[in-house]
Symmetry: C2
Subunit: 481 residues, 2 copies
């Protein structure tokens, strides 16, 4: 296969290869199920290093354009991946269904058998720290004291009022003044973000996000056909000084930000930038959606006021969750908003699913009220603090060539691989060595960005497993030298 | 106050009065907070009966246009009911919030103090029958056996696979052939309906519904700015022979139907009409959303096949729930769909709230698997059968002038009041006597329809309370003679 390459271009070679292949696959010049040249062979043909081709193939695989078959090489993917029952041929589908086929498909998981002792640096909190016993005690108390009330529809609308009071107390202790009347209980913070989008944006509207940002928010924005415009992040969070031209150019309908221990970068938006952000939001009439997913997990430094706490005018919608601090399986989050948008959000929540499980709402309120949540939080902070330190030490020891910025809290370390190494291409090697991470491209508006980054969760593993896992990552990387 | 009335018109007098007042309120000729004449006085002025004026006022109150202040009469409502904190004046709101104010508002609950011993015929199943002990046993089992797994994110996407298997077994026993791969777990059936609307309809699109139909579905359709077109119901369910001209005229994007023990009419769609419905759905390329909210609660007659069971081509999306048969506080429902629409629904569910509480999904699966659900269902059928009979007997005895159609199952009896008596106007009198019901107008696309109907839930009260409650309803009605 001949691929024309421009060695003087600023576009990296792997990207030129992948652009050429993508174009030829999408136009059908490379037909579905056609076998692609082996990476070694194509590298030799084009006079480039094998890593260049491996990077290009891995990225195309993540876009769903090519598939890797165990022991047999890479193939052009079938045009659409459908999951209809075998008995059903596409031709008998009703007409209205034929426009609904999902055109893109997700990357396949690696096809070799999983490592027997995988150390995964993905996920959120450490499942072994879930306060199962205490939470079960709270459930038992609810069954004994409330029973029927907790299993009826309850107060649909904004949620169980005592829990909303409890949340406004928690928030007050963090500097946000709010009333229970402005707190809406949601099914995790994901639902809060989705409701806000449904109220404020239409397909084609622009949402501004940090670059990188939370992958499931990006997934939501894409599913709603929004245009996503990214603002780069540095050690002080979103680069707010680059925001104004974007506001002028794109007229965004929403600005989505994670100011504390940002996912995935781990950085905090500085106090100065928080104020600037609010000023710009006012000047350009754009709502701010503040996602404070782990604001309580601080290990060093002084805590910063929430953007919502600096906003007297209802410009900020604040979103929080118990998934990360407590247990993701609860599916309880909340949002705080002022003004007419709050009433609209309550109404939309109500018609969307009536209410979040009253049993879980009652139990969670019981759990927090008797002081178990605060105790759990203190334990988590102590534990995750040590694990963060263990991971930074292990990285310095085993991965001398990578770049990281040390986070002051949260769950994540954001890591940049050396020599334009692609985290997607590294994934099968890491997997073989028995270590897993989240590739950086998941967190960018365009999946062709962030290829040399990866996200490590330091909270899910013990210090010993962290040391071993980072060592394994180093071994996987060594196979590229 | 002088209101011009046409006594020869086919428009009832109360409606002429209410149209006149609505018009003068909306144009501002009757100013906010202005006191309206007392019903007795206005009746005398216009030479009509007091009930005419009371009907008109009650209907306007339900539209949020007038409010009733205890002991002081009726007033024109303030133009917008906002619930912002007292400190916040509307002028300081950001610009983007000012378009979001909700224009309509809900009727106020009756302002007098509640009856000390209210017999309510609203709601779904009887809370005293919730299988609290058995369900708590299942939760305990899950904490002991699964613990962490049940409180992690679990299998997002379509939901906990063993529960989806269990649901496909339950459905198979009812004649629907499906695979777990085509079952999506949702937060109650409400979320299933909302997801389907988000995928298939845009604002302004037409949805066809039975008239009357489930009020929270209507509320959803209104919130999504859909146009709602109703097809009348008779003793065999939706009058399918009136459907074709509506399909030709309105090009609906969805047909929403409750074929079994319809909410609120209690009637079942006949077998013949189920087939006709499918034929029309094929001819006019319209998807059917089948809401089978209490299909299992049959007391007489033979069960009918689900419309989904008659559909080989993926034209029907079937929705079920555990809220009505078991406990509404669970918030677990599901949908069954074939073809690309299923993948789209899964994706939208995932970005909307990641997943429905894994703890509840695990517990519910445990509860059903060990046979507790089936036993509970048999008990419910025996119990509610008796209560339906008790309510029909009580109605025949105490309400000789009303019309009802006797339902073969479900939860509801749909009742028509005599002499154009408005169920809304009757509500405060019923409330004073100590009985509650759902006024018929809640279940119609236009709130000016169905005024003389009301819905009684026979499942929530004991036979003794049913006898007493219907007697009270009779006393409330007697005050209108």
């Amino acid at each position: 296969m001949h691929i024309p390459l421009d060695r003087d271009s600023s576009i990296p070679l792997y990207q030129q290869v992948q652009d050429y292949l993508r174009n030829h696959i999408q136009t059908g010049q490379l037909a579905p199920n056609m076998r692609l040249p082996a990476t070694r062979r194509l590298a030799k043909d084009l006079g480039v290093s094998r890593i260049t081709i491996q990077n290009a193939y891995a990225n195309l695989e993540s876009e769903g354009l090519i598939t890797n078959r165990e022991g047999s090489g890479s193939y052009v993917a079938p045009p659409v991946m459908m999951k209809t029952p075998v008995s059903q041929s596409s031709s008998s589908l009703p007409l209205w269904q034929q426009d609904l086929q999902i055109k893109t498909s997700k990357a396949q998981p690696p096809s070799h058998s999983p490592h027997p002792d995988l150390i995964s640096f993905t996920g959120v909190g450490d499942p072994n720290q879930f306060p199962l016993k205490d939470f079960h005690k709270s459930i038992r108390a609810i069954f004994q004291q409330k029973g029927i009330e907790a299993l009826a529809y309850g107060d649909f609308g904004a949620g169980y009022l005592p829990l909303r009071q409890t949340i406004s107390h928690i928030l007050a202790s963090q500097g946000i003044q709010t009333h229970p009347e402005n707190v809406l209980i949601t099914t995790g913070s994901q639902q809060a973000i989705a409701l806000v989008c449904q109220i404020l944006l239409n397909p084609g509207d622009v949402v501004l996000v940090e670059k990188p940002t939370y992958n499931m928010a990006l997934d939501l924005f894409r599913t709603l056909d929004l245009k996503i415009v990214g603002v780069p992040v540095d050690k002080d969070g979103m680069q707010v000084d680059r925001l104004e031209p974007l506001l002028q150019q794109h007229h965004p309908k929403l600005l989505y930000t994670i100011p504390n221990f940002q996912n995935p970068s781990g950085m905090c938006l500085s106090r100065e930038r928080r104020r600037q952000l609010l000023t710009l939001a006012e000047r350009y009439n754009v709502p701010i959606l503040e996602d404070d997913f782990v604001g309580d997990l601080r290990y060093n430094g002084r805590s910063l006021p929430a953007i919502k706490a600096l906003d007297p005018d209802g410009r900020v919608i604040y979103v929080g969750t118990f998934s990360k601090m407590l247990m993701p399986g609860l599916r309880v989050g909340y949002l705080v908003a002022d003004g007419p948008v709050f009433d609209r959000l309550v109404k939309l929540k109500q018609v969307s699913d009536l209410t979040t499980s009253p049993l879980i709402q009652h139990t969670l309120n019981e759990y927090v009220s008797v002081g178990r949540y605060q105790a759990h939080l203190r334990r988590s902070v102590r534990l995750y603090h040590k694990r963060r330190d263990a991971m930074i030490t292990a990285i310095e020891k085993h991965l001398p060539d990578v770049d990281i910025m040390s986070p002051q809290g949260g769950l994540f370390i954001w890591l940049r691989l050396p020599n334009s190494l692609s985290a997607l291409a590294l994934l099968p090697f890491a997997s073989k060595e028995g270590v897993a991470y989240a590739p950086g491209s998941w967190f960018f508006p365009e999946s062709s960005e962030g290829l040399s980054f990866l996200r490590l969760n330091f909270a899910v593993q013990t210090p010993e497993a962290i040391e071993e896992g980072i060592q394994r990552l180093g071994r996987a990387m060594a196979q590229w030298d």
